[in-house]
């Protein structure tokens, strides 16, 4: 009996110690939703280390958490960065002196699942009154993988030498990309018997097909476009696939006008409700 009591006490002590350990070690950050909300936590963790010993090691630790904080704040992770500076011989005009500095930057990192590598030059011209900085050359290297929607955008950004637009549009692209993925997944899980994602989770199209009407198929193509000003916009289209005989019987041209009606529905209901109504149309009725 006493030995049992002793065991109980030992267990209670161990649990208390483990609880303490849990509090002290931060929870693993897995998904992005958690990553987005934990800004406060990182900040708190970081500020605790402030004002303590000023040696190199703690300084490095501080820089480390500042970097972590910035990557959470912006959603952009910079992994490598290097810079070379060369001073151009200043062209001496009669009365004003110009100083030109050319910097070569190289930077790589990722924004969620998309990796990038950038090379750019910045020319700084300093005269008596002001300093102007111009990006004179911009090269973006991205792996030509599944994000074909980005390739045209990348060449336009290079042409415009607009670095900030690159990161901004990339962020909004990822936002839409994740939203598309979530939405498609939601419908596939909710209506597994009629919804199919042909290219897996990161598919850009969703097929709706009912078992009771196997020759009739609706394909929803959801592209994410980036326009000339860097604006990221979703573009959804409906492609009905119907056998010829059925088309001939379609006197009211319902099928032919479906893509247009789909657009109208989108502008009225929004994406989720439009897809929902479309899918439920082809769902086998409960009763």
């Amino acid at each position: 009996m006493d030995s049992r009591r002793a065991e109980l006490r030992a267990l209670e002590a161990e649990i208390a110690a483990l609880r303490r350990a849990c509090r002290e070690t931060p929870a693993p950050v897995g998904d992005t939703a958690q990553a987005r909300t934990s800004l406060q936590e990182i900040y708190r963790l970081d500020s605790q280390g402030w004002g303590t010993s000023k040696d190199l090691r703690s300084h490095v630790g501080h820089l480390e958490s500042e970097l972590l904080f910035l990557s959470r704040l912006t959603g952009i992770n910079i992994i490598n960065y290097s810079k070379k500076t060369e001073e151009r011989a200043s062209t001496k005009m009669a009365e004003e002196s110009l100083t030109k500095v050319l910097e070569r930057h190289r930077l790589s990192g990722h924004c969620q699942m998309i990796s990038f590598q950038l090379e750019f030059q910045i020319l700084e011209i300093q005269n008596k009154e002001n300093l102007s900085s111009v990006i004179t050359d911009l090269n973006i290297i991205m792996e030509p993988t599944e994000y074909s929607e980005l390739s045209e955008f990348v060449s336009r950004v290079e042409e415009r030498r607009d670095l900030f637009m690159f990161f901004r549009s990339l962020h909004f692209f990822v936002e839409w990309y994740e939203y598309r993925e979530r939405t498609f997944k939601h419908f596939q899980e909710k209506y597994p018997e009629v919804v199919r994602l042909s290219e897996g989770a990161s598919s850009s199209s969703m097929t709706v097909q009912s078992a009771s009407l196997p020759w009739y198929e609706l394909v929803i193509v959801w592209r994410i476009q980036i326009d000339a000003e860097g604006k990221v916009l979703p573009k959804l289209d409906l492609l009905p696939k119907v056998p010829k005989q059925a088309l001939e019987l379609d006197k009211n041209r319902v099928i032919q006008t479906a893509p247009l009606s789909f657009r109208t529905l989108l502008s009225v209901l929004g994406i989720e409700a439009t897809l929902e109504s479309l899918v439920t149309c082809l769902c086998p009725k409960e009763n």
């Binding site: 109980l8 483990l18 500020s47 090691r57 930077l107 900030f164």
Partner: protein
């Protein structure tokens, strides 16, 4: 009853009914105590079992947390894992990290930690020209709060922060950056027109603070004659740098056919190219302008 009777028979012969009852009572108390003890023991047992499973759960949790920490530190700093933590390595690492911190400026969003939160710096540029930066000083608490900022009043900061500041800080910052970059870009174009192509302008360029409404009169040489045009550019969407509405009118009465052609060509140019680039074209092509514009 059996044991009681046996005790009575073989034990003490002088005992009466009362003693027998006493003995019975003692017996009952003893068995009750035994039952209580058993119950207590089983309660203890089940409590121990519960605590054991809780401990195992906690142990696993701690292990998982430590594993992720180790994994993340192993990723970011292989040096520490290998046990080489020499001052030179630290020094190099420090320089490297300082560089990366600075490199965040090139994303257009950067920040410096303050005693209360973070001061976010939003940089703007137009086609490679690095322009003004703006700051938003955030107090990190729940809810997040903007303490100070240098965002111009005509940028809808209130609206943006009400919509996104608490729910999605990244979206908030990038949206704000979009507004500020568009504003900077429009202003840069107007400034360039005024400073670089003043010769083309007849009178001052008029603009509102947001620079989304520009009006000016300009002259273009046409068959060695100078013709004045009035332009009015409107940017209905204030997150863009190209006008949504363009109106060019001929100032001198009824326009000739060539003037009308010019007018339409100019409208198309203003709609599709940055303002100062249109004037750079005017300057370069001079009289031959009409030919290239029609195509």
């Amino acid at each position: 009853m059996e044991p009681a009777r046996a005790a009575c028979r073989g034990g003490e012969p002088r005992t009466g009914v009362l003693a027998h009852l006493e003995r019975l009572e003692a017996e009952a108390i003893r068995s009750r105590k035994q039952l209580e003890q058993q119950a207590e023991e089983s309660a203890l047992e089940s409590k121990i079992n519960k605590l054991r499973s809780l401990r195992d759960q906690l142990r696993a949790d701690v292990k998982r947390r430590q594993a992720t920490i180790e994994a993340s530190t192993a990723n970011s700093e292989p040096n520490r894992m290998a046990g080489i933590d020499e001052p030179e390595d630290l020094q190099r690492k420090q320089e490297n990290m300082k560089g990366i911190l600075q490199a965040y400026h090139f994303t257009g969003l950067s920040g410096k930690l303050t005693s209360r939160g973070v001061c976010v710096c939003i940089s703007t540029a137009f086609e490679g020209n690095l322009l003004d930066s703006y700051f938003v000083d955030l107090v990190i608490q729940k809810p997040l709060r903007i303490h100070h900022h240098s965002v111009p009043v005509f940028i809808p900061l209130e609206e943006l922060s009400a919509k996104y500041l608490q729910t999605d800080i990244q979206h908030f910052l990038f949206s704000l950056s979009e507004y500020l970059n568009a504003y900077s870009g429009r202003r840069y174009q107007a400034d360039q027109l005024q400073s670089e192509f003043a010769d083309f302008l007849a009178g001052p360029l008029q603009r509102n603070p947001l620079c989304n409404l520009l009006a000016f009169t300009y002259k273009v040489e046409l068959k060695s004659q100078s013709f004045p045009f009035c332009a009015r550019l409107m940017y209905k969407d204030i997150t863009v740098t190209l006008p949504t509405d363009v109106a060019v009118t001929c100032q001198a009465g009824e326009p000739s056919t060539s003037q009308e052609e010019q007018r339409v060509a100019h409208e198309n140019l203003f709609r599709s190219k940055p303002l100062h680039q249109v004037f750079a074209l005017f300057a370069k092509k001079g009289e031959k302008l009409d030919m290239s514009l029609i195509s």
